[in-house]
């Protein structure tokens, strides 16, 4: 067995509605693999099938070498899952929740105790061990769920939208934990609709739309398919003169003007700003503003689907997350 996860022609239909459509993917051992797509793209359905919560309509999949339908119990014992929605018992303390988990996974007493301290330390909740979960904030709860997912030392950890609805600072913390885990040799599969999450965290990303994988590669390769950076200039007048000057520069790959905006395709756009402004001044063209746009996974999504991810969701926090950094 080479791969942590392998799926072949995975399909899930709900009453004739296709949620997951012929998904083939292999997740390598030890990598952080991202499933990126808008809400309703089928990411969670894939996770639910791989974690034995749902049976696929067609196709097969193996997790750590075990068939997800025929060997459900074997699959269950080598995975950890952090669900999208809360799944803790609010009437139990953090320690009791972890203790329950450890027993369910057959961990003996002494090891359980040691491991509880370890995972609480990892997510910096040691001082909250004896607090009832109902008193935890959303971010703390999520951290505890991550700790719990790791408690029994799974080979593969599934994280379904681990930072959904969390503030930026907490999100960064959670990214750090996930990176730390990866050093423990845990294979991580994460779903997200946050571009920068997939970009920052994942070794490889599968972009999913309408239940299909439309692209799969490292974030860098995906973005390089889109090509170069874009420099956008807002100009008052003298478009024609500007065109002549700028197209004379050998590093300007293309020039595109509309509604008083000029878009230039250039490599390493940041460092070209002074030259562009200088050239415009010499030509006597007044520039009102300059902005740089580097290719993002959002552009990759747009390229493959013809739509922007934010059209699909329309959530306030999502729109902010998608804004250029």
């Amino acid at each position: 067995m080479e791969h942590a996860i392998e799926t072949r022609g995975l399909v899930k239909r709900f009453d004739g509605l296709v949620a997951v459509d012929d998904v083939n993917l292999s997740v390598r051992r030890g990598e952080i693999f991202g499933l990126l797509g808008p809400n309703g793209a089928g990411k969670s359905t894939i996770i639910k099938m791989l974690t034995t919560m749902l049976r696929p309509t067609e196709g097969e999949a193996y997790v750590w070498g075990h068939h997800i339908v025929r060997e459900r119990d074997a699959v269950r014992s080598c995975i950890g899952v952090v669900f999208q929605d809360p799944s803790v018992d609010g009437k139990l303390t953090a320690r009791e929740n972890l203790d329950f988990h450890g027993r369910m996974y057959g961990m003996p007493g002494a090891e359980r105790k040691r491991r509880i301290e370890e995972v609480l330390e990892l997510v910096e909740l040691s001082d909250k061990a004896d607090v009832l979960l109902e008193e935890f904030s959303g971010g703390m709860r999520r951290r505890l769920e991550i700790a719990r997912g790791l408690m029994h030392r799974p080979h593969v950890l599934f994280l379904d939208e681990p930072t959904l609805g969390l503030d930026t600072q907490t999100r960064r913390y959670i990214w750090d934990y996930i990176r730390d885990l990866n050093e423990e040799d845990v294979t991580v599969v994460i779903t997200t609709h946050y571009m920068e999450e997939a970009d920052n965290l994942c070794n490889r990303v599968a972009i999913i739309d309408h239940g299909r994988i439309v692209a799969l590669d490292t974030p860098t390769s995906l973005k390089s398919m889109i090509g170069t950076d874009t420099l956008t200039l807002e100009v008052r007048d003298g478009l024609e003169r500007l065109r002549d000057v700028l197209l004379g520069l050998e590093w300007v790959r293309s020039f595109d003007a509309s509604n008083g905006y000029v878009r230039l395709s250039v490599d390493s756009a940041q460092s070209r700003i002074p030259e562009v402004v200088l050239a415009a001044c010499r030509a006597g063209v007044r520039i009102k503003s300059v902005s740089v746009h580097e290719p993002t996974l959002e552009d990759v999504f747009l390229r493959y689907t013809g739509r922007s991810m934010r059209d699909e969701t329309g959530k306030g926090d999502l729109v902010r997350a998608l804004m250029r950094r």
Binding site: M53, I79, S87, L92
Partner: protein, 255 residues
């Protein structure tokens, strides 16, 4: 992985116990109604002696019935607590663990039975203070065994209903059309022989009728059917509802 996993069963039982003792208001809330029934009905009806078997005080007649009521309510709710876990997401944590569904059902049942029987025993204390005369230690021990059977029967019923319900909206229906008729027809408050013929038939298909009757026999010696017959019928009902409950839970959607 074993089909029967004592460690996981213990884990599920322990969780129920921690929750039970932590939620003081719930304990009080579950003890209060039977306490009021016992106190007010016991004293209010005592003079009227609603044609209870000769030589039995009404309070002696009523107390086992009220224990049956406590078990019925507490156990059905325990069986239905799957719904709460589904609502709060904890059910997923349980279902994704490498534990067989049978062990999960057994763990929940163990927790529910312990809670219900504890409540049944607690309600006996004010009963004794009000003049209930218990036959003897053997009767008391036998009645605890009967309480376990009654409780498991209705946990199975609760589990079966909860497995087919998406959320808690159907809860009121279960309460009004299942729990109350089972309680009122069981002879917990008055002898089923007082009921008119067609209604009495319903009493005879009510498992709680035999549970309450056997409890009455063991605790105060006022049974209307042979205790052995009661016990056999009750055991049959218990096996049936547990099997149905476990089957429906196993085949229910996790998500």
């Amino acid at each position: 992985m074993r089909v029967f996993d004592p460690y996981a069963i213990y884990s599920l039982w322990l969780r129920e116990m921690i929750r039970f003792f932590r939620l003081k208001s719930r304990v009080v809330g579950s003890i209060a109604p039977p306490f009021f029934f016992l106190t007010f009905l016991g004293t209010g009806f005592s003079g009227m002696a609603a044609r209870v078997p000769a030589g039995v005080d009404y309070i002696n007649y009523l107390a086992p019935g009220i224990i049956g009521m406590t078990l019925l309510f507490s156990s059905t709710f325990a069986g239905m607590s799957v719904l709460w876990d589904r609502e709060f997401g904890f059910l997923r944590e349980i279902m994704v663990a490498p534990v067989t569904r049978l062990s999960i059902v057994l763990g929940r049942t163990a927790g529910g039975v312990t809670q219900a029987v504890l409540q049944g025993i607690i309600i006996l204390i004010p009963g004794i203070a009000m003049g209930v005369r218990i036959k003897g230690l053997t009767g008391l021990i036998l009645s605890v065994a009967l309480m376990v059977l009654i409780s498991a029967t209705f946990i199975g019923v609760g589990l079966a209903f909860a497995s087919r319900m998406k959320d808690m909206s159907g809860f009121g229906m279960i309460m009004n059309f299942m729990i109350f008729p089972v309680f009122l027809l069981s002879g917990a408050l008055f002898p089923v022989q007082n009921l008119p013929e067609p209604v009495r038939i319903l009493s005879y298909i009510d498992p709680l009728t035999y549970g309450v009757d056997a409890l009455r026999g063991c605790l105060v010696g006022a049974n209307s059917f042979p205790i052995v017959m009661d016990t056999i019928l009750l055991t049959g009902c218990c096996a049936a509802t547990m099997a149905i409950g476990a089957y429906m839970f196993e085949t229910s959607d996790i998500d």
